[in-house]
Symmetry: C2
Amino acid sequence: MARLSRENKAARAAPARSRRVKRAAADRPAPKRRSSDAPYHHGDLHEALLKAAEQVLERDGLPGLTLRAVAREAGVSHAAPTHHFGDLTGLVSELAAIGFRQFGVAMAAADASAATPSEKGVASAKAYVAYAEAHPGMYGLMFRSERLDYSRPSLHEASEASFAGLARGVGASRREQISKESLSLDQAAAIASAWSLVHGFTMLLLDGRLSKILKLLPEGTTPEMLLTAMLRLSAGRPPRP
Amino acid sequence: MARLSRENKAARAAPARSRRVKRAAADRPAPKRRSSDAPYHHGDLHEALLKAAEQVLERDGLPGLTLRAVAREAGVSHAAPTHHFGDLTGLVSELAAIGFRQFGVAMAAADASAATPSEKGVASAKAYVAYAEAHPGMYGLMFRSERLDYSRPSLHEASEASFAGLARGVGASRREQISKESLSLDQAAAIASAWSLVHGFTMLLLDGRLSKILKLLPEGTTPEMLLTAMLRLSAGRPPRP
DNA sequence: TTTTGATCTTTACATCGTAAAGATATCAGT
DNA sequence: ACTGATATCTTTACGATGTAAAGATCAAAA
C-alpha cells in the first residue's frame, strides 16, 4: 500500500556538509536550483518555499505536505519556514490562496473564450474540472484540507474572488444581475446547483469514485464526455443518441 | 510502574485507577460502559474501540482521530488497537464501513417512506444531506479521508452497496432498469448528476462554503430549503414565487 | 566600523504511528 | 486439575512531525 514508511527517501543533498563550517557564503544550501533570482539574504525564501511546497504537494500528495518536507525540498533547515509562515496552517493557507488565484485565471480564460452565455457555462465547467485534474494536489488542498485559515486576508480574498466569478457567470447565463446585497431563493439555487454539480463531480472523480461508472460506459468514454452529458441533462436538453 | 503520566491531557475518566492491581478481573479497564456484552478476554475491544473512535471523531474531528486518542477513550494502552486493526488505516476503514452501512440504512428508509419515484428522489436527497449534517465527522471520514483502504472487503462491500442503492433509485425515477453490465451515456449522466449534485452540496455545506449564499437569502432560510429549491430546478420545474 | 535587526540553524520537547518484546488471561488437551 | 499454547493487552523503543526557544550569521543602517 506504499505506506511511505521510512521517509528517509529524501536525504538528497549535503548529508555530510553540516560540519558547522561557519563562514563560507558560497557553501550555502543551494541543493537545487541556483539561478540568479536570489537577490536577497540567503535567497528569496518565502517564494522558494511556496514553490517547493507546490512541488511536494503534487508529488507526494496532501499527507506528504509537511513543514519539514518543504524545508528539505528548498534546502533549508526544518525550522526556516516558521519564520515566514508562522506554522503549517500559514504555509498551507498561502499555498491555497495561490491555488485559488490560478484557478480564477483559468476560469476567467474559459469564460472569455466562449461567445454565448450557455457556451460560457459549459466552458467554465470544463475548465473547472480540467484545473482539478491538472492540479489534483492543489484542488485537494483548496477544498478538502482541514488546515486552512480563511481569516488570512490573502486566502479570504482569493477564494472570495473565485466565488464571485462563479456567481457572475451563473447570473449571466440567467440574464440577470447578481446583487451583492441579497439573493432570491431561485438565484441562490441556481448558483448552488452549478457549484455543487461541478464540485461534486470533481471530488468524486478525483477520489476515483466514478471509475465504476466510467468502466460501464462504452470503451473510451472520458470523464469530460460524461461531464458534457451531465451538463446537457441539467440544461434540460433532450437526450442525445 | 504505572508510568502513564504521559499524555494526560485527556484524563477524562478513571485517572487514578491505573494502579496495576494485577489479578482482579472485575477491575479491568472498563472506564466507560460496562454492559453485559463483554464475554471475552478483557472485554469486547474491537467493538469498544470502534465506538470510542466514532465518539472521538464526532467530538474532535478528523484530525483528532488518532490511534492513541481512541485507545485513551477506550481506556486501554496506546498499542492495543494495533492488534485489532493493524494500523490507523485499518481502524479508519472499518469505521468508514460502519458509516456506509448507517448511511445506507438512512437512505433506504427515506426511499421507503415516499410513494412516487419523484418523491423518493427528493426524500433520498434530503436524507443524504441530513445524514451528513447529523454525522459530519463520519461523512468526512467516508468521503474525504486519504487513509481509507478500499481493498478491505467490509469497506468495499459497504460503499458498493451505497452506490448500488443510488443507482437503483435513479433508475427507478427514470422508469428503467439499471444493468450491472453496461450503461448508456444518458443513464450514467443521470446517476453521476444526482450524486454529484447532492455530494457537492453536502461538501460545500459542511465546509461552510455556502454560508455566504445562505446569509444573502431571506432571514431564516435553511440549507434544506435551499436544497429543495435546487432539486426543483434540476427537475425542470418552473420557478416558484 | 559598529550596531542592529531580520534571517536562518540548532536544540529541545510533546505527540503521533508503529514495531517488538514482555506480561497476562483464556482455552485445549491431557 | 494441571500445564502448555495462544490470543490479548502493556511496555518499551524509535523515527517522524509541529513548534518553541536560543544561538549564529549576514545586510544594512548608524
